[in-house]
Subunit: 83 residues, 2 copies
Amino acid sequence: MLEWLKEPEINFPDQLQHAGFEHGVCVGQIQAKAGLTQSTVSEYLSILQRAGFIEAKRVGQWTYYKRNEGAFEALSKLIQSNL
Amino acid sequence: MLEWLKEPEINFPDQLQHAGFEHGVCVGQIQAKAGLTQSTVSEYLSILQRAGFIEAKRVGQWTYYKRNEGAFEALSKLIQSNL
DNA sequence: TTGGTATATCGGGAAAAGTCGATATATTTG
DNA sequence: CAAATATATCGACTTTTCCCGATATACCAA
């Protein structure tokens, strides 16, 4: 999922029909691609959010998730320096 | 454990009594510091080895483990580029 | 306000990971 | 070879993680 969110236009072309990608990709799109249930994907995304890897933005009935690139940079550096 | 192995001299001073650190740190030393059973530590180290993060060197009855810095560098870069 | 759609949360069962004691293997020493 | 020491492997149990269906919540539209 994290990789998918790097290129929303390529990985979630269907979303164009009701929105752009300014705020990220909505849960339903990710769920369809993941092939897991809605509840599983929702929970998974919220875990990634709490971990800081993605950010959520509620717009109407949709919740859009997008990557927080800073977190990946930070993790990469942490592995370099601390680990 | 991976952090401990960055500075063997500091984290495993007892090992000096029977060996240096050329080949790394032996299982018993790591086990004592970890506070887990011998079998758990042995299995854990072999998992880390299979994953490529550490290398094993058998010398007599001892097995010494040391970090494979390249693996950490690679992981760090992988997070930067692929993830 | 009622019904429809999107997402979140909850409780539970299945799968995986963590940890242990017992035992096997390898090596050294007497 | 026998005993002692260090490590590895095995089987079982416990804990955690994964994933689901059911249900709750939030928002929108008629």
